[in-house]
Amino acid sequence: MKKEYLFEDKHEFVEKLKDLLKKGVPVDRMQIYLPFPVEEVEEILGRPVSKLNFITLLGAITGTITGFGFTAYTVLSRPLITGGKPLISIPAFVIIAFELTILFGSITSFLGFLSLSRLPDIRRILNPMEFDNRFAIVIDDGEDDGKRDED
């Protein structure tokens, strides 16, 4: 059996969501769709802090290490003294490391976002669910076949 609630108003939707949770409907049975982000929902559902924080930090640190490691390693293995400066010139390498921190951080953050939010979702690309600007709560007991019943 599948129940679908549609709301046009944000507050009505938030109230209903609270109500359903109070009644003891398990969160993992509920599918919620929002036309735009609503801050209250996160609080109500009590989700932990996004893992993206950690993933992004990891990406950024990898970038910094790569920036310094890559420059230092390659100038040592192919030494070419220019301008009488030391082979490992930290101030110059800071710029490369800085740019790579941002590059790696942004790319891992983006990839992390894709995997955490299960995108690209091929099933939904082929058969997207549309709620026409409404907030939707779908309570589902069985398998979801990607279609919904008209009410």
Partner: protein, 437 residues
């Protein structure tokens, strides 16, 4: 839908309709603009082909003036890109409300401006087919790139900037593409469906999405400062008088944001008129963006004063001569245009009435665009044509090829922007909905 549409939802529909209306079949005016842009672009590319075939002599570069119009264009276009990031990322972090009216066009502008800018170092090369020698990759040439060179920093900075801006532009668009998917039919529907990655707007998706957006904005903010600093170091790291100063990095960053803000105004004013977006891009928003223009204009003017003062108090005769030459020498007209456009015309924006006068704002933004191009030209050419030894002085020659390629870059930029307004949502729909609630 059988139920009557309530008020809350009505607004959401109206935004979608108004914004996506821009994607409908274009007017004749659109085709005319697109045609002119394509012609300019194709002419520019053909002239580049001519230059490759004939040799670099046709570009007007001469012996002391080895950096000429192409490097001017490079710096100009990278600068244009900057304001896009400022508006989308910095104003996001500061929670400035007027941002959501401009951010999509500004982000698109950033991506297209970097694409245009990225071409110029390659056009500038005598053997453009060897441009990949700038990239550090395992090779059999027994050579390695010099990480101490600002030109390599440039490769990293501009490459990173392009990638991050593109991700930022795309990520901001994912929920809107899911809306566009609902309105489109046929192959277009499949395309938007594919581009929106199957976005459904579940709380988890929004949670990670908001986080990602915040991260990208926080990455882009220091990035934008670093990129134009690195571009300025292309000059400042040398010992050429007029270039070798520590003020260059902040001076270039301020100039970049100044010119970019002007370009946003240049693009958004006609866009707002053509697609009747007066409801979403209001006079208050223009008032705010005009204030940014005014502020950055003052910073740029201040930098001019500091630059000249440092030269004359510093007591270095070469430095003093270059600055005297810059203002009163062969290129005094360019210098005068630069001062009038960048330092004097924007002062009128102190008047509130003029800030809210769209026509005035549009015209002054055009002047600023011209003025900032002149600024880069003046900095590059005057310093190179007169350095230390009078025996080595010289002037660049006039070149229709270089002018044609410059116009071609404008053609490319406007062509890309015109295509953008027809295929992608021009305002951030979800953000406008969120702000309205």
């Amino acid at each position: 839908m059988n139920k009557a549409i309530s008020k809350a939802i009505e607004f959401r529909y109206r935004i979608e309709k108004d914004v996506l209306a821009a994607m409908k079949k274009p007017h004749i005016q659109y085709w005319i603009f697109l045609f002119i842009s394509v012609i300019l672009f194709v002419t520019g590319m053909s002239l580049w082909y001519y230059q490759i075939k004939t040799g670099m002599g046709v570009s007007g570069k001469t012996h002391p003036v080895g950096w000429y119009m192409y490097i001017t264009n490079f710096v100009f276009w990278v600068g244009i890109a900057h304001s896009g990031t400022l508006i989308s990322a910095v104003l996001f972090l500061f929670r400035a409300g007027f941002r959501s009216s401009f951010n999509r066009s500004a982000e698109a502008m950033t991506v297209f401006a970097i694409m245009t800018a990225g071409l110029f170092p390659i056009i500038h090369l005598g053997r453009p087919w060897l441009f990949y020698w700038l990239l550090p990759y395992p090779n059999e040439r027994l050579l390695w790139v010099n990480f101490k060179s600002p030109l390599i920093w440039d490769v990293f900075a501009v490459g990173t900037y392009f990638t991050v801006s593109l991700i930022f532009f795309y990520v901001g668009m994912i929920p809107d593409l899911a809306i566009a998917r609902r309105y489109a039919t046929g192959w277009k529907r499949r395309l938007y469906s594919f581009l929106s990655l199957g976005w459904q707007g579940t709380p988890d998706q929004w949670r990670h999405y908001n986080r990602l957006y915040m991260f990208l904005a926080s990455f882009a903010t220091p990035l934008v400062v670093s990129v134009h600093s690195v571009v300025s170091w292309d000059f400042a790291m040398s010992i050429i008088p007029g270039w070798h100063t520590t003020i260059f990095a902040p001076y270039f960053v301020a100039g970049a944001i100044f010119s970019g803000t002007a370009m946003v105004i240049t693009l958004v004013v006609p866009m707002r008129k053509f697609f009747s977006l007066e409801k979403y891009i209001t006079l208050d928003h223009f008032d705010s963006i005009a204030k940014i223009l005014l502020l950055t204009s003052l910073i740029v003017s201040y930098s001019y004063i500091v630059e000249f003062s440092m030269a004359f108090y510093g007591g270095n005769i070469f430095e003093m001569e270059v600055f005297r030459y810059r203002a009163f020498g062969d290129f005094w007209i360019f210098f005068a245009i630069m001062i009038i456009c960048n330092s004097i015309i924007p002062l009128f924006l102190f008047i509130r009435k003029l800030r809210r006068n769209i026509k005035f704002l549009f015209i002054s933004s055009l002047f600023v665009n011209v003025g900032m191009w002149m600024e880069r030209f003046v900095i590059i050419v005057t310093s190179l044509s007169r350095d230390f030894d009078p025996y080595a002085w010289g002037l660049p020659s006039f070149s229709t090829v270089a002018i044609g390629i410059t116009l071609g870059s404008f053609g490319m930029f406007f062509m890309l922007f015109l295509i953008f307004v027809k295929v992608l949502p021009i305002l951030s729909i979800t953000e406008l909905k969120e702000v309205h609630e």
